[in-house]
């Protein structure tokens, strides 16, 4: 038995030794099986690769989609932040202008935000977020750096209603800066003002700047109102018809200053 096993081992070693010597031979025995096995291997390998590719692509796509969503969200946030910063920048510019203007007009003023507008095209008022608790009273002037906005016509504890200078029932004592011709600025149509009761003999030209006279005890003296856009001197009568375009863009009003104590400014 033991001898038989030893003989088998010896034969095995001899065969292995012989086959290892003929490894490079074309007629090796392993080559016979390859044509039968390889197609299956190929098919299975390709299938596995395909599934693996599909799987990894799927996951890649899912990851890419998630990444895309994340990037899109980040981009949206960045755009929103950018917009917010731009808005802050513009807000800052407007406040700086108001601050500069506040220093210039020598009156005590309080800044207010416009929170509502009159829905009717016939009446021109705005609502601001300052009221009697902030020392705002009826009759106080409302201005911005561009010029006169209007005056407070009613005030509650935290909010006030401001009649714009372009309203048909609004008026302010004014004069032409160049020639000191006096008149009354009254609201009119299409956002323009009529400069009434200007004597015919006074020199008023298109392009002249109209400012507050301070004589109405509402608006401080010397505030810009607008620019003369039309002058008609009728053949008869003692007054001329003057139209003024206000400097203030009322559609874009966002912050205003309420003049708490109108001190007459000396020009």
């Amino acid at each position: 038995m033991i001898v038989g096993v030893i003989v088998l081992i010896a034969i095995n070693i001899i065969i292995l030794s012989a086959s290892s010597r003929s490894y490079s031979s074309y007629y090796e025995p392993g080559r016979i099986a390859i044509p039968f096995i390889a197609p299956f291997q190929k098919a299975v390998t390709r299938s596995v690769r395909f599934v693996r590719g599909l799987w990894s692509n799927y996951f890649y796509l899912v990851t890419a989609a998630k990444e895309n969503e994340r990037i899109r969200e980040a981009l949206n946030q960045a755009v929103e932040e950018n917009n917010h910063l731009l808005e802050l920048k513009l807000f800052n510019i407007r406040l700086r202008e108001l601050l500069e203007f506040q220093k210039a007009i020598t009156s005590r003023v309080i800044a207010a935000e416009v929170i509502g507008k009159d829905p009717s095209p016939w009446f021109k008022t705005i609502i601001i977020d300052k009221g009697t608790d902030d020392r705002v009273r009826k009759g106080m002037a409302v201005v911005i750096s561009d010029g006169v906005v209007g005056q407070v016509i009613s005030a509650s504890s935290h909010y006030s209603k401001v009649l714009l200078i372009t309203a048909h029932n609004s008026s302010a004592d004014a004069l032409v800066q160049r020639t000191r011709a006096r008149g009354i600025i009254q609201g009119g149509a299409t956002g323009r003002c009529a400069f009434k009761y200007v004597l015919r003999k006074h020199d008023v030209q298109v392009g002249d700047r109209v400012i507050t006279s301070g004589l109405d005890d509402v608006f401080p003296k010397g505030l810009s109102i607008g620019q003369v856009s039309r002058v008609i001197k009728p053949d008869a009568g003692i007054f001329q018809e003057v139209t003024v375009i206000p400097y203030v863009e009322f559609e874009k009003l966002e912050e205003v200053l309420v003049v708490l104590n109108p001190l007459k400014k000396q020009l």
């Binding site: 509502g116 829905p119 016939w122 009446f123 209603k161 048909h168 149509a189």
Partner: protein, 170 residues
């Protein structure tokens, strides 16, 4: 609950037309959005439901507006009464007349407003400007008014259904 619905709708309309709409130049000469709602009340709702809403929001609009106090209240009440009276002999709620009822209401409101302005400060409104504003408002009212009316009616019906279901469940 119905009053609450009316209050919410009117509150939204007031806020929308005083804060959002002024930012869009195309709505510069839009008509009063409460008008279709008042007409809706006149056409589809009973008197006891409508009067408190009209009084309250007429007062609110007068507070917000720069016009003579009571002008909106007056206009709303007259509009309500006028449309109610009209429905006694015309079936306005179910006909082509619905297309024009808001426009007619807007025209009446404008005429009342112009009369008020003319009385308070004569000769301040140029005729061309007046005509232009009225024309723009009428166009808006003709094209959007009926939709608003139908929307109010639809949402009110939905609200009623929802409330009744809610109370049945509870």
């Amino acid at each position: 609950m119905t009053h609450f619905f009316h209050f919410i709708i009117c509150f939204f309309l007031v806020i929308f037309q005083t804060t959002v709409m002024p930012y869009f130049p195309m709505f510069d000469r839009f008509y009063d959005l409460l008008f279709p709602f008042i007409i809706f009340l006149s056409l589809f709702r009973p008197l006891r439901e409508s009067i408190p809403v009209i009084l309250f929001f007429g007062f609110v609009m007068d507070t917000l507006s720069g016009g003579p106090f009571g002008l909106y209240l007056t206009t709303y009440l007259w509009l309500f009464v006028g449309v109610k009276w009209m429905t006694t002999f015309l079936d306005v709620s179910d006909s082509v007349l619905l297309l024009f009822v808001v426009a007619a209401g807007v025209l009446i409101q404008n005429l009342i407003f112009i009369a008020a302005i003319t009385i308070s400060s004569p000769l301040t409104l140029p005729f061309s400007q007046v005509m232009n504003t009225i024309a723009v408002q009428l166009i808006w009212a003709t094209f959007t008014g009926p939709f608003l009316l139908l929307f109010f009616n639809y949402s009110h019906n939905k609200w009623d259904k929802w409330i009744s279901q809610l109370f049945v469940k509870t």
